[in-house]
């Protein structure tokens, strides 16, 4: 099973070591012991959210804000699950772990890879998820160790989060001809940010809440024309 699953996860191996490392350095440079990176990678196991988590940890304790941010960043995972209901059916207790480990990268592997018939699918998905999780924990921990023990000026390293989302945005942009959903996302959020910063600076921390409502409303209002254009 390992020999079937491992080769397909190699691109993820490199990606996770690198992105995990970035997160580890970021968290360690915020003053956390490197074991925190191992802990975060094991429990949260969500690349983009962990970067946002560093941002949250550097602000005063606020559970409400943590919940809102996690919802905002990870709501997309609901839709990953939707397309895997059939695939993950009947794989037993392993399913709980497979759901836990359903990151963007694992999702893309499980979705795209053809699994030969003689392979136990449940075990294949499980092994893939375990391997990716291991790469991620390793990457984060290595980054944490570097961040803790190597002296360097880390100013600006938090830009790694921006860089990551810009690249994902670009890849999504190139994957489709219909750009209005992406533009709705950028437009609504930018609008809410500017309005809140100018008129309600006290509530600026929460600008993502109105942004999400705005995006949801726009997508609902333009459902008919958008669906027509998507099906072209």
């Amino acid at each position: 099973m390992f020999r079937v699953a491992f080769p397909k996860t190699i691109p993820i191996l490199f990606g996770y070591l690198f992105l995990g490392c970035g997160f580890g350095v970021l968290l360690a440079k915020s003053g956390y012991h490197f074991l925190w990176t191992t802990f975060t990678a094991s429990t949260v196991y969500s690349g983009s959210m962990q970067y946002v988590a560093v941002d949250l940890l550097n602000k005063p304790f606020n559970i409400f804000n943590a919940i809102i941010m996690t919802l905002a960043v990870n709501i997309r995972h609901v839709f990953y699950g939707l397309s895997l209901i059939e695939k993950y059916k009947g794989i037993g207790i392993k399913k709980i772990y497979c759901m836990f480990g359903l990151t963007d990268e694992t999702y893309s592997l499980v979705c795209s890879q053809y699994v030969p018939d003689y392979i136990d699918k449940g075990r294949y998905y499980f092994v893939t998820t375990v391997l990716n999780h291991c790469y991620w924990i390793t990457g984060c921990t290595v980054g944490g160790i570097i961040g803790q023990f190597v002296e360097f000026n880390a100013k600006g390293i938090d830009f790694v989060m921006t860089a990551l989302f810009v690249v994902i945005f670009l890849e999504q942009w190139e994957s489709t001809k219909e750009h209005s959903p992406a533009l709705i996302g950028v437009g609504c959020t930018a609008l809410c940010l500017v309005v809140f910063k100018s008129f309600l600076p006290m509530l600026a921390t929460y600008f993502l809440i109105p942004a999400m409502i705005c995006i949801f409303t726009a997508l609902t209002v333009f459902k008919a024309p958008l669906e027509r254009r998507l099906s072209k």
């Binding site: 802990f39 550097n58 880390a154 390293i157 921006t162 690249v167 994902i168 709705i184 996302g185």
Partner: protein
């Protein structure tokens, strides 16, 4: 560290719990042969694009375009990331190159 270690653990566990619930939710809601409502599957097609757009703006929330460095280092770095990515389509190169460039810019050029 801004938060105490107990606060940090709580923050991280809350994030982990919400993430798990989001990932598990569709499997819980649409168990058996219940089919997915058309509106939900429509959202599944468009929302991921909108959410990433939202997150790009979120990342730039603290950049001021009317004072300080006027967002110039961010703008330069993003343009380079786009260029690198169009050229090589390599996640590591684009993210790594863009971040290092930004760090150099804010540490040595736009101080």
């Amino acid at each position: 560290m801004t938060q105490t270690w107990v606060q940090s653990v709580i923050t991280l566990l809350v994030i982990a719990a919400v993430t798990f619930v989001l990932r598990a939710l569709p499997f819980m809601l649409f168990r058996g042969n219940k089919s997915v409502p058309p509106f939900i599957s429509y959202l599944g097609k468009v929302l991921p694009f909108a959410v990433i757009g939202m997150l790009v703006v979120y990342c730039l929330k603290d950049v001021s375009f009317i004072s300080g460095t006027y967002g110039i280092p961010e703008l330069i770095s993003i343009l380079v990331i786009v260029g690198l990515h169009k050229w090589k389509h390599n996640l590591l190169l684009s993210v790594g190159g863009g971040t290092i460039l930004y760090m150099l810019l804010v540490q040595f050029v736009f101080i």
